[in-house]
């Protein structure tokens, strides 16, 4: 028994849909492969640090006490930046970082939800009270970069921003205590 025109049409539609699904499958597989490839070769990963901190006491002692904020270079060469995002400022207001060197940025909030991005880079994270937001990155261009809060945090949200000063290696000089501040201009 030969197929009716209706059955032919049905089989044609089914073939088209299968072909389309195959194409979509190829695209999804290619996108995922690209993400895995960049993660393995050039270490591009979604920041995923789950670390709790008590927002009520974080400024009193420990890692986010005032004397620990800013940029610190440790003996093994690790560069760690610690900053607090609070209504309506970042502490410190200016962060000095070295160019072309791996930097770990750590942020905490004592009050409400904040967020930040650093212009011209892929640094972009939320700062959730109760958690430490951590991002590893490497700044490739020197100069001053703007770091605004990008989660609405209250009436002064639009005034909440800081500067990230990316310094060339010869100008990034830690003091005896390993601390680095923004160059005075």
């Amino acid at each position: 028994m030969s197929d009716t025109p209706h059955e032919l049409q049905e089989s044609r539609i089914l073939r088209t849909e299968l072909l389309w699904a195959f194409g979509v499958g190829i695209f999804v597989a290619a996108s995922l492969s690209m993400i895995v490839f960049t993660a393995l070769t050039i270490k591009i990963n979604p920041p995923s640090n789950v670390e709790r901190i008590d927002p009520k006491t974080l400024h009193l002692s420990g890692e986010f006490a005032e004397q620990n904020l800013g940029t610190t270079v440790f003996g093994d060469g690790t560069v760690i930046v610690r900053a607090i995002a609070t209504q309506f400022m970042f502490v410190p207001q200016c962060i000095a970082v070295p160019a072309n060197r791996r930097v770990t940025l750590r942020f905490a909030s004592p009050d409400v939800l904040h967020g930040l991005l650093i212009t011209g880079t892929n640094v972009n994270t939320m700062v959730v009270p109760g958690f430490v937001a951590q991002v590893h990155t490497e700044f490739t261009r020197t100069g001053d970069l703007l770091m605004p809060c990008h989660e609405f945090c209250g009436q002064g949200h639009s005034e909440m921003w800081a500067t990230v000063q990316v310094l060339p290696a010869d100008q990034f000089k830690p003091g005896p205590d390993g601390r680095v501040s923004c160059a005075q201009r």
Binding site: P5, H6, L8, Q9, R12, I13, T16, L19, W20, G23, F27, M34, T38, I42, K43, I44, N45, P46, P47, R102, G120, T121, N122, V123, V135, H136, T137, E138, F139, T140
Partner: protein, 65 residues
């Protein structure tokens, strides 16, 4: 409906044509191809845009993790 009012069904322009099965089958041989080409072109443009942004903007902005 009152008799002094005309019905849309009185006008040939307003009434659907009778469907000729053979003609429908011949149209359906080409219409899905056109739809697939149109959808394929649009999706290809979207994918191209994604790839350009990924390679020319995202990757040069440096590592993250």
């Amino acid at each position: 409906m009152q008799s002094d009012q005309s019905s849309a069904a009185d006008s040939k322009l307003e009434v659907a044509d009778e469907v000729d099965e053979a003609a429908l089958a011949s149209v359906m041989r080409t219409v899905p191809l056109g739809a697939a080409v149109l959808a394929g072109t649009m999706v290809a443009l979207l994918v191209l845009g994604y790839l350009l942004i990924y390679t020319l903007v995202f990757i040069p902005r440096g590592t993250i993790g």
